[in-house]
């Protein structure tokens, strides 16, 4: 691809954001040390260093004069004085290859120097000062990037004549936008950072700020990009020489390839040697760039994960007794000793939910309450077997209508989801597929799960939209997700969840992302639907107001475990666990008007 695409692929452009924080200076030394531990990078570096040394000392190392043609010894096989044989004009191929290295590397370096000089200067100026220079240079970068490099190089060769140095300089200009964009993006990201403001306020000159604060941020990405760019330049140069568009007087790898290709039937090895050298050099440069990016990305990502989860403390669960005479429906879901873990990079499993047990009965709302990170959402995902990547159930049973969901096959789970178990997410906008209309997202499961025809499914979807209180179902049906409000989107999601009349509904903080007035409406809607459809509901929340409003039973979660569970009235009346008590204290601070036991029938949300 190097010879083919005009510019490095954006996918291979290193991520600048990773480096935007922290001390880059010390990281660079450790980057080199870490590269030494990466076998691929070591092999690549050894090859490149060898190549550079051989090229620089080519006149000493090469076994003979590369330009000396011996008309008697043409097309000799490898051996003796000619370790790689001779070409059609009797040149010593090894000598040519070694001398070619000098010119090929020098040409590639010329490209790099010009590209970096133009790209970095332009990117710094455009990004830091903005204004007309920004507009013009960005536009120019776009134009230069638009045309395929080789076509421009052909035109440049026609206009300027055959010079390898000129061609490589032009190529340097052509690829400079890669550096321009890299630096530009980094500078615009950093320019308004507080520490740059602080530097400005403290009286540092613009050039000092650029040098000290901005160049350090883009240094590593530039080195990575440079490594990739050298590979591309070597490939392009070889391509031009191969086409016969370079200096015919200079020994270059591409020229060798051209001579070899002319004899491909008689002496295929002549094509092989330069191909090998060019190919290995391009691969080495790309692998090295890639290894550097990998190391930088890892160092950027690793510290975030540390310390995110506290140790799970095992203590007995405080269980409140059932109220006498309470009406309890059939048991829908029986979760016993559920444990959820995430596979870690080092092979261990991090447990985020531990020994969670609770049950849900038909017609009842079971609240799971706790602060973020307490494992309540993880438990909900585990029941649906929709845990994020790397997560899985590592213990316990989830009995639903007699079958254990924890050990069920994926196919059986797919049949159950939507039809028997449904889910209402927390954040309405991100839970609708932005590329499809609201209507099509409602119709798809209806057709798949209930086998309705398109017309029936549409009629049912419109009914559902009306049922969840959407004023103009036809219009919402045709709308794309970004065209409806958050409250409407949440109603759409509720409509989707109940569309196949499930037995168990899992609602994950269904009101957290909504306005206070809309929260109350959505809670009322959920209560009505619960009564009407006689479902069991698991309501995940961090809000005791919502629990008081809607739930029959509640389990309090902390650090991946349930600490207290029982009927809502009982827990509100006499919380026993310290953590539950502290949660109540927190509400009282926030809203002193609310008593310990509000009337559940009233719709007054917090």
């Amino acid at each position: 691809m190097t010879a083919i695409a005009p510019l490095p692929d954006p996918q291979f452009t290193p991520q600048v954001e990773v480096l935007a924080v922290g001390d880059v200076g010390s990281r660079r030394t450790s980057l080199f040390r870490r590269l030494l531990r990466n076998p691929m990078a070591v092999v690549a570096m050894v090859w490149l260093v060898l190549l550079a040394l051989v090229s620089v000392f080519s006149s000493v190392i090469a076994p003979g004069d590369p330009s000396h043609g011996d008309p008697i010894n043409t097309l000799l096989p490898p051996g003796g004085h000619f370790p790689l044989g001779t070409d059609a004009a009797g040149h010593n191929v090894l000598s040519q290859l070694i001398h070619g290295g000098l010119f090929s590397l020098a040409g590639a370096l010329l490209t790099l120097v010009i590209a970096v000089a133009i790209g970095v200067t332009g990117g710094l100026l455009a990004g830091y000062f903005g204004g007309w220079f920004d507009a013009v240079s960005s536009w120019l970068a776009g134009i230069v990037m638009a045309l395929p490099g080789i076509i421009v190089l052909l035109a440049a060769r026609a206009a300027l004549g055959p010079s390898m140095w000129l061609s490589m300089s032009v190529f340097g200009v052509l690829v400079s936008p890669a550096f321009f964009r890299l630096v530009y993006a980094a500078v615009t990201a950093v320019r308004n950072e507080l520490y740059v403001d602080a530097a400005r306020v403290s009286g540092l000159s613009d050039s000092r700020i650029i040098g000290r604060h901005i160049l350090t941020v883009v240094r590593a990405p530039i080195i990575i990009q440079a490594s990739m760019m050298l590979g591309i330049a070597i490939a392009i140069q070889a391509g031009l020489e191969f086409l016969g568009l370079g200096d015919l007087n200079l020994p270059t790898w591409g020229g060798l390839l051209r001579n070899g290709f002319a004899e491909i039937y008689d002496a295929p090895l002549l094509t092989l040697w330069p191909s090998l050298v060019i190919g290995l050099t391009c691969i080495a440069l790309t692998l090295l760039g890639n290894a550097m990016r990998d190391e930088l990305e890892q160092s950027g990502a690793a510290p975030k994960k540390r310390g995110a989860v506290s140790e799970i403390v095992r203590e007995p669960v405080v269980t409140h007794a059932e109220e006498a005479g309470a009406k309890i429906g059939e048991t829908l879901l029986e979760v016993t000793d559920l444990r959820v873990g995430y596979d870690q990079r080092d092979g261990t499993v991090k447990e985020v939910v531990s020994d969670v047990s609770f049950s849900v009965h038909r017609g009842e709302v079971h609240g799971i309450i706790g602060e973020s990170g307490s494992g309540k959402t993880q438990s909900a995902f585990a029941i649906m077997r929709l845990l994020p990547e790397g997560g899985r159930i590592i213990g316990g049973t989830v009995l639903f209508e007699g079958a254990d969901l924890a050990s069920m096959s994926e196919n059986e789970m797919t049949k159950l989801r939507g039809r028997k178990i449904a889910y209402i997410p927390q954040e309405p906008m991100s839970n609708l597929d932005p590329s499809f209309t609201v209507g099509s997202q409602l119709v798809e499961p209806l057709r798949l799960k209930l086998g309705l025809s398109t017309a029936e499914a549409k009629a049912k979807a419109l009914d559902l939209l009306a049922k969840v209180g959407i004023p103009n179902p036809e219009r919402t049906f045709k709308a794309y997700p970004h065209e409806v409000s958050g409250g409407m989107a949440q109603r759409v999601l509720i409509a989707g969840a109940i569309s196949c009349e499930p037995d168990l509904l899992i609602a994950d903080e269904p009101t957290t992302a909504l306005d206070v007035t809309v929260q109350a409406e959505v809670l009322n809607l959920l209560r009505d639907l619960n009564h009407e459809l006689d479902m069991g509901v698991i309501l995940v929340t961090h809000n005791f107001g919502v629990v008081a409003d809607l739930c029959d039973r509640v389990s309090v979660m902390r650090n991946g475990r349930i600490v207290e569970t029982g009927p809502v009235r009982s827990i509100f009346a006499s919380p026993e666990h310290e953590y539950t008590k502290s949660l109540f204290a927190a509400i009282l601070d926030e809203a002193p008007a609310r008593g310990a036991l509000p009337e559940p029938s009233q719709g007054g949300a917090k």
Binding site: M1, T2, I4, P6, D9, Q11, F12, I143, A146, L147, P148, I150, I151, L154, A155, R157, A158, G231, G239, L243, G244, L245, F261, I264, Y265, P268, T271, S275, G279, C282, I283, T286, N290, F381, L386, P388, E389, E410, T414, R417, G418, I421, A422, Y423, P425, E427, N431, D433, P434, Q441, E444, P445, L448, K449, Y480, H482, L493, G496, A497, C500
Partner: protein, 313 residues
């Protein structure tokens, strides 16, 4: 939407004019030397002056450009300085050849990239590692080396394909397919590598989106969600990379055509460049620029179809 298209077409025309102006000024600034170059060292000074006058090279370069532009707008790109060939006709006869191998390589890239990218992104683990290493190698190895290897192994040693030559589709579809197979593969390697990386990345991103879980919670199977919803959302960035690759392959075809002796635009370009046949080079630049403009417009329209938010703005 209409104003969006009109604006994009306008921007494309501006780009064409800018590129053609820069290229013309660069290529035609040579002046009198060009006539000398065409006629050779034996020609007298009078002959050189007469030739320069014939070609209009004695006029100021801007008035030459105005004349060229006027003709170009009527579809006349001038004649070759060396064999009198009509440039427009030369471009028109060579374009389909190059286009067929570039298009073939693009389709192959898109197809394989979706398969490999989705496979790597949804399986992760070993499959993902292998796909990543292989695509990194495909990205690193220059396409013309792949072409040389294919010629050497599949054509010369195993004799599975003819090493060189091109059969037009209208002559013999089977022979056409056989004649473009190796060039298409050689051209596609880099494209496959880059687009696979992009598809893999965007599918992984899309799989982490909340709506994927919600769609799965409605009972849609994982594969249905991936192929209908995830791919649609991952399509935009992948399409942008594919467009860059398409343009890049158009340039890469210059070398590939030389290796397989395919009579496409690249071959004209290389021989015209070596000779200094400026009108043909100018024609090639213009055709390429026009292709870039058209491809970018098509991609914009496709993006609008994929992403309803783009469609509205």
């Amino acid at each position: 939407m209409v104003t969006f298209i009109v604006r994009r077409i306008g921007a494309g025309i501006v780009m064409l004019v800018v590129i053609s102006t820069i290229a013309f000024l660069m290529l035609y600034a040579g002046g009198g030397d060009i006539a000398r170059h065409i006629l050779g060292q034996q020609a007298t000074q009078d002959q050189v002056i007469a030739k320069a006058h014939d070609l209009g090279l004695d006029q100021p370069v801007f008035s030459q450009y105005a004349q060229w532009l006027g003709n170009a707008l009527h579809g006349n790109l001038g004649q070759s300085w060396f064999n009198g060939q009509d440039v427009t006709a030369a471009m028109a006869s060579r374009f389909p050849v190059t286009f067929s191998i570039v298009m073939g390589a693009t389709l192959l890239s898109a197809l394989l990239a979706v398969v490999l990218g989705v496979w790597a992104a949804s399986r992760r683990g070993v499959v993902d590692k292998v796909v990543q290493v292989v695509s990194l190698l495909g990205f690193a190895i220059p396409g013309f080396l792949v072409a040389l290897a294919l010629v050497l192994v599949l054509a010369i040693n195993l004799k599975l394909f003819k090493p060189t030559g091109y059969t037009p589709l209208t002559d013999d579809p089977g022979a056409w397919l056989s004649s473009i197979t190796l060039p298409v593969i050689a051209l596609a390697i880099g494209g496959i590598a880059s687009v696979t990386q992009q598809v893999r990345g965007s599918v992984i991103d899309a799989l982490r989106q909340d709506y994927v879980r919600t769609l799965r919670s409605r009972g849609l199977s994982r594969s249905r969600v991936i192929f209908k919803h995830v791919l649609r959302n991952a399509g935009g960035p992948a399409l942008a990379v594919l467009a860059v690759q398409f343009i890049g392959m158009f340039g890469g075809a210059v070398i590939i055509e030389q290796i397989f002796a395919i009579p496409g635009l690249g071959q004209v370009g290389v021989s015209a460049t070596t000779q200094g046949d400026i009108p043909l080079v100018m024609g090639l630049v213009l055709v390429t620029a026009a292709l870039v403009v058209v491809v970018n417009l098509l991609i914009d329209l496709l993006q609008g179809w994929l992403n309803p938010k783009v469609r509205l703005s």
